[in-house]
C-alpha cells in the first residue's frame, strides 16, 4: 500500500482531500494547512478531524463552559484536587481519601447498536476514572428512552440495559443508581449516560502528561482493530478502494465492540502499576483512540513525542496509519514510563497477560512526530490538535414559541374530583416514569466488592470507602427534561437541586457536581439558547449551594430530523458521609413507632409535572419555583438528623409529588401508613413543589427533631404515622389502598412492557 507521508504531502500540495466527509469545514481545513505550512497527510487529516470534532473539541460549548470555572470561587475550589480539563474531577473527602467521578454520554452509538453502544459507554467512563490513578468503585446509568410502549423502545431498551449490565457486571463494579425516563422526544435518540466513581489515596493522584525526555510511551491492553473508526473510513475508501481493486475494504461497524474481561484485567494491571509507582503519566484511549491519547499526552507534557506507529499491535491486517490513529478499539491505555522502570512495567503486564508495547518516547522539542516504517506520516504541534481547535460562538436565539409555551399553563387542565384521587395515586404509580425500575436494575449487580450501602431504588447510591473508619460517599444523578424545556435556566437548577436533595436525603453532605449535558443541534440557535441558559443556571446554582462543578461532558446533535430532544442537562452530585452506618434508608418501618413529617412547603405547582404529562399529555407553563437557600437548609437538617440518629427513613419528593413518595416509602419498607393531609388534597398529593422531603421520625425523637426544624426556620408538618400492623396506605378522607394492589401497579408496568 502507498502511505501518504509528510514528504509526499509537500510534493503534492494540490492533492484533493476528503476533509468535508470527515466533518471539517473549509475554514478549518484552511487553518490546518496554515498551521502545518502545507497540506496535511492522511494521518494528520485523520487526527485533526477527530480531535476537532464536536465530541472531542467542545468547539460549540467551550465559550459557555468557561462560565463554570469563571464562577467557581476559591472557597468552592478548596477541596478540589483536579477539575475541568482533566480526565475526571477529583475531590478530597478527608481521612486522606480522594474521590474522582465523572459522567459521559454514549447516546448515538447506543441507538445504532444498543448492546455494544451502552456497554462501551460504561467501559469508557471506567477508564477515565482509572486514568486518574483511582480504583473504579461503582457505576450509575442515567437513561432516556422514547415512549415506553413504542415498538422501537422494545428494541432499544432491553439491549441498552443488557449492555450496561453485561459490561458492568463482568467488570465487577456495582451499579448503584441512575435513572430511566421515557419521553417521545427521545424516540429516535435515546440517551445513554454513564457515570463512574473511584477512590484513591490523595498522594496517588495521576494526571495525564508526558514529561521527561527519553521516557517511554507504552500502549497496553487490547490490540487495535478496525472497529469504531467512523468517519475515517472515508480516508480508507479514498486511499484503498482503487489500489485494493476488487477486494472490497473491510468495513466494520462504527460502533466499537467491548470486552469487559480485558478491561477488568486492565484495571487490576493498572492498579498494580500505580502501586509500584512506575507510571509517570497515563491516558485512557477512548473517543479518537491513539490520535487523542498521543496528542493530549504530548500537549500536556513539557516536551515533544515520537511514536513508531508500525509497532502498534493490530488485530486486522493492512490497516493504514490514519486508521490506526483513529481506531476506537476498546480496553487500551497509554502510559509514560521512565526507561529504568520499563522492565518492572512489562513484568506487571506479563503477570496479568496484558499486551504491552513500547510505541514511542518523549523527545526534546515541541512536535508530535509519528513514523510508519521509518517514514514520517505526521508532524504536528500537539497543542494545535488537542487544545487549540476551533472555537465557535454560535448564534443564540430564544425560541419564538417559548412565550407561548410558558403561557400555556396547566391551570386550564381539568383537575380530578375528590373521589378520583385514590385511583389517581395508583394510576400515577403505574405510569412508566414513576413505576418501579426493578426490571432494569435487577439486571445489574449491586453487591460486588461488598461496599454498597444503598442502591436503587434509594434516593442516592452510597458506597463505603473506608472499612475501618466507615467513611463513604453518596451519589445521585437527576434531570427533568420537561422542566428544562419550560425554562432551561431554572430546569438545570432544579436538576441540581434534586440531585443535591437526594444525596442529603440519605444523610450525606453534598460536596461536588458533575454533569452530562445532552442537547440538540448546536447549529440551531434555539438549542444554543437552551444550552447557554442551562449552563448559566447550573453554574449559578452551584455558587448558591457552594459546591463546585468538577467536570462534565457535552453531547450535542441529539435530535431526530429537526426535532431536538428535551434539553437534558443531567446533573450528578457527590456527597460525603462520615459514617455510612448512619445512612438514612428510603423505606419506612425500621423502628417500632414512627411519625411521618413533611419538610418544606407545598404550593400548587403543576407546570411540567408528571400529572400533567400522564393524565393530559400536557407540557406548558413554568416549572416549580427554585429555592436553593431552602434546599441548603433542608440538606443541613437532614445531615444533622442522620448524624444524631433522629431519622429512621427519608424520601425526597420530586416527580409525582407526595403521593409517589408515600407509595414508594411504604412499598420499599413493606409496611402501611395512615396519612392525614390538609387543604386541597389534589395539590397536597400531586404538586411537585421542590425543597421537600418526607421523613420518618421515631416517636422518641419527634420533639427533638421538630424543635430543630423550627429553630432553624424549616417548615415542617406532621402528615401521618407508620402503621406496622397495616398492609395498606390509608389517606384520611379518601380511603385505603392495599399495598398488594399498589405493588402490582408499581412493579407490574415494566415487566408487562418488556418481558
Amino acid at each position: 500500500m502507498t502511505v501518504d507521508t509528510v514528504k509526499n504531502a509537500e510534493n503534492t500540495p494540490d492533492q484533493e482531500q476528503p476533509y468535508k466527509e470527515l466533518g471539517l469545514k473549509d475554514d478549518e481545513y484552511a487553518r490546518i494547512k496554515e498551521i502545518l505550512g502545507r497540506r496535511p497527510t492522511d494521518a494528520e487529516l485523520a487526527m485533526y478531524s477527530v480531535m476537532w470534532s464536536e465530541h472531542c473539541s467542545y468547539k460549540s460549548s467551550k465559550v459557555h463552559l468557561k462560565y463554570f470555572s469563571d464562577t467557581t470561587t476559591d472557597e468552592m475550589r478548596a477541596k478540589m484536587l483536579a477539575g475541568i480539563g482533566e480526565n475526571a474531577g477529583v475531590v478530597d473527602i478527608g481521612d486522606g481519601w480522594a474521590i474522582t467521578f465523572k459522567a459521559e454520554s454514549h447516546n448515538h452509538p447506543s441507538y445504532v447498536e444498543p448492546y455494544q453502544g451502552a456497554a462501551t459507554g460504561v467501559g469508557g467512563i471506567v477508564r477515565d476514572i482509572l486514568a486518574m490513578g483511582a480504583r473504579p468503585l461503582a457505576v450509575m446509568d442515567p437513561l432516556r428512552f422514547g415512549p415506553a410502549d413504542a415498538p422501537d423502545t422494545r428494541r432499544v431498551l432491553p439491549g441498552i440495559v443488557a449492555g450496561v449490565g453485561g459490561y458492568g457486571n463482568c467488570l465487577g463494579l456495582p451499579n448503584i443508581g441512575g435513572e430511566v425516563v421515557f419521553d417521545a422526544t427521545y424516540a429516535g435518540n435515546p440517551l445513554v449516560n454513564a457515570l463512574c466513581v473511584g477512590a484513591m489515596r490523595v498522594e496517588d493522584l495521576h494526571l495525564a502528561h508526558a514529561s521527561g525526555t527519553g521516557n517511554k510511551v507504552i500502549l497496553f491492553g487490547a490490540r487495535t482493530g478496525l472497529d469504531g473508526i467512523g468517519g475515517v473510513s472515508v480516508l480508507a475508501s479514498e486511499t484503498f478502494d482503487d489500489s485494493a481493486g476488487a477486494g472490497k475494504r473491510k468495513k466494520l461497524p462504527s460502533v466499537q465492540v467491548g470486552d469487559p474481561f480485558t478491561e477488568k484485567v486492565l484495571i487490576e494491571c493498572c492498579l498494580e502499576l500505580f502501586a509500584q509507582r512506575i507510571v509517570v503519566g497515563i491516558q485512557d484511549l477512548g473517543g479518537a483512540g491513539l490520535a487523542c491519547a498521543t496528542s493530549e499526552l504530548a500537549s500536556a507534557g513539557d516536551g515533544g513525542m515520537h511514536v513508531y506507529l508500525d509497532r502498534v499491535p493490530l488485530r486486522a491486517t493492512g490497516m493504514t496509519p490514519a486508521e490506526i490513529l483513529s481506531s476506537e478499539s476498546q480496553e487500551r491505555m497509554c502510559a509514560v514510563v521512565r526507561p529504568e522502570d520499563l522492565d518492572a512495567f512489562m513484568a506487571v503486564c506479563r503477570k496479568w497477560d496484558v499486551i504491552a508495547t513500547e510505541i514511542g518516547e518523549v523527545t526534546e522539542g515541541d512536535r508530535l512526530v509519528i513514523t510508519w516504517h521509518d517514514e514520517v506520516v505526521l508532524d504536528v504541534p500537539p497543542r494545535t490538535v488537542a487544545h487549540e481547535g476551533p472555537v465557535y460562538n454560535r448564534p443564540i436565539e430564544r425560541p419564538a414559541d417559548q412565550d407561548a409555551l410558558q403561557a400555556d399553563t396547566p391551570d386550564r387542565l381539568p383537575k380530578p374530583a375528590r373521589d378520583e384521587l385514590l385511583d389517581l395515586v395508583k394510576t400515577m404509580a403505574a405510569s412508566p416514569n414513576l413505576a418501579s425500575k426493578r426490571w432494569v436494575t435487577q439486571q445489574y449487580d449491586r453487591y460486588v466488592r461488598g461496599g454498597t450501602v444503598l442502591a436503587q431504588p434509594a434516593d442516592s447510591g452510597m458506597i463505603r470507602i473506608d472499612e475501618s473508619t466507615h467513611r463513604g460517599v453518596a451519589l445521585s444523578t437527576d434531570c427533568n427534561g420537561r422542566y428544562t424545556k419550560l425554562d432551561p435556566y431554572a430546569g438545570a437548577q432544579l436538576a441540581l437541586a434534586e440531585a443535591y436533595r437526594n444525596v442529603a436525603t440519605t444523610g450525606a453532605t453534598p460536596v461536588a457536581v458533575t454533569n452530562c449535558l445532552n442537547f440538540g443541534s448546536p447549529e440551531d440557535p434555539a438549542v444554543m439558547w437552551q444550552f447557554e441558559r442551562a449552563v448559566k443556571g447550573l453554574a449559578d446554582g452551584c455558587v448558591a449551594l457552594g459546591i463546585p462543578v468538577t467536570g462534565g461532558n457535552v453531547s450535542f446533535y441529539n435530535q431526530t430530523g429537526s426535532t431536538a430532544i428535551l434539553p437534558t442537562p443531567v446533573v450528578g452530585v457527590l456527597g460525603v458521609i462520615d459514617d455510612v452506618r448512619r445512612r438514612i434508608p428510603t423505606g419506612i418501618g425500621a423502628e417500632a413507632g414512627e411519625t411521618l413529617l413533611l419538610l418544606g412547603e407545598t404550593r400548587a405547582e403543576f407546570g411540567g409535572s408528571e400529572w400533567a404529562h400522564v393524565v393530559h399529555g400536557h407540557l406548558g407553563g413554568l416549572p416549580p419555583e427554585v429555592d436553593l437557600a431552602r434546599e441548603k437548609l433542608l440538606g443541613e437538617v437532614l445531615v444533622a438528623g442522620s448524624r444524631d440518629g433522629m431519622l429512621s427513613a427519608a424520601h425526597d419528593l420530586s416527580d409525582g409529588g407526595l403521593a409517589q413518595a408515600l407509595v414508594e416509602t411504604c412499598l420499599i419498607g413493606e409496611v402501611g401508613a395512615r396519612v392525614f393531609l390538609e387543604g386541597d388534597l389534589f395539590t397536597e398529593l400531586f404538586s411537585e413543589s421542590t425543597a421537600r422531603v418526607l421523613v420518618a421520625v421515631p416517636r422518641t425523637e419527634e420533639l427533638r427533631f421538630t424543635d430543630m426544624c423550627t429553630a432553624r426556620g424549616l417548615p415542617w408538618r406532621k402528615v401521618g404515622v407508620v402503621d406496622p400492623e397495616s398492609d395498606a396506605l390509608e389517606i384520611q378522607e379518601l380511603g385505603s389502598l392495599p399495598l398488594a394492589e399498589l405493588r402490582e401497579a408499581w412493579e407490574g408496568t415494566l415487566p408487562a412492557l418488556f418481558d
Binding site: A162, G165, G166, N169, C170, L171, G172, D259, P260, F261, T262, K264, V265, W352, D353, T441, Q442, Q443, Y444, D445, R446, Y447, V448, R449, G450, G451, T452, V453, R464, E467, V580, R581, D755
Partner: protein, 223 residues
C-alpha cells in the same frame, strides 16, 4: 485457620470472600490461578466472577488453571472447598461436583435478594444453620440454572446432597429448585447465591451468609 481464596483473571468476588473469612475469624490467604501452590491452607474458596471472561463456557477454562489441579487433589483428601457462583461452575467443570449450570430460563442476568432453604446442615460449610432454616442472600448470575441428568438428580436427592433450595419462584429454571449441592463426603459445596455478600446487614440484605464461613471455622477447628 487459613482459608485460601483463588483469583483468576476475571474473578470479581475474591475481595468479598476474603472479607467473609475475616469476619468469621479466619485468615484469608490469596491464591493465584497460575501457581501450583495452596500455601498450606486449611480450606479453599473459589469465588464468583467471570474467570477468563467466561469464554468458551463458564468455568471451562478456569478448571485447567494450575491452582485448580492442586484444589482437586486436596479435595480428594477431604479439604473443605466452597464454590460460589462462578466458583460453583468451576467446581462442576472440574468434576468435584456433578451437573452443570446453564443460562437462566428468562435469559436475563438476575440480581436479587433470594430466600434459600437449608436442606443439609451436615456439610463442612453449613453446620451453623438449623435444618430447614430459611436464609436471605443475594443471587446474581446470568447462567445459574442447575442441570443434571435424572439419575444424578435422584442420587443427589436420595443422598441428601442438595444443600440449598430456592424458596418461592424459581429464579433461573434450576431443576428441583436446586441452589447448591455437596460432594458425597459433604466437604465440597457449590452454590449459585452469594453468602459472602450477606455477612453484614449494612452492605447486604442480611448477615445470614456468615453462617457458612463460621461453619467452616468450626469444622476445621474440630478436625
Amino acid at each position: 485457620m487459613r482459608v485460601g481464596v483463588i483469583t483468576f483473571p476475571g474473578t470479581l468476588d475474591d475481595v468479598d470472600a476474603e472479607r467473609a473469612v475475616r469476619y468469621a475469624g479466619g485468615e484469608a490467604v490469596k491464591l493465584w490461578h497460575a501457581d501450583h501452590d495452596l500455601k498450606d491452607v486449611d480450606a479453599v474458596i473459589v469465588p464468583g466472577g467471570f474467570s477468563y471472561g467466561d469464554y468458551l463456557r463458564c468455568g471451562a477454562i478456569a478448571r485447567f488453571a494450575p491452582v485448580m489441579q492442586e484444589v482437586v487433589d486436596a479435595a480428594k483428601k477431604g479439604m473443605p472447598v466452597l464454590g460460589i457462583c462462578n466458583g460453583f461452575q468451576i467446581l462442576c467443570e472440574a468434576h468435584l461436583l456433578p451437573g452443570a449450570l446453564i443460562r437462566n430460563h428468562k435469559l436475563h442476568f438476575v440480581c436479587r435478594d433470594q430466600w434459600l432453604k437449608v436442606e443439609n446442615n451436615a456439610t463442612a460449610w453449613t453446620t451453623r444453620y438449623d435444618q430447614g432454616a430459611e436464609i436471605l442472600v443475594p443471587l446474581k448470575s446470568g447462567e445459574g440454572g442447575y442441570q443434571a441428568d435424572q439419575s444424578t438428580l435422584d442420587e443427589l436427592e436420595g443422598e441428601g446432597r442438595v444443600v440449598f433450595r430456592y424458596v418461592g419462584e424459581n429464579p433461573n429454571g434450576s431443576r428441583n429448585n436446586i441452589a447448591g449441592i455437596t460432594s458425597a463426603n459433604g466437604r465440597v459445596v457449590g452454590l449459585m447465591p452469594h453468602p459472602e455478600h450477606a455477612i453484614d446487614a449494612l452492605t447486604g440484605p442480611t448477615d445470614d451468609g456468615l453462617g457458612m464461613f463460621l461453619s467452616l471455622v468450626d469444622s476445621v477447628v474440630k478436625a
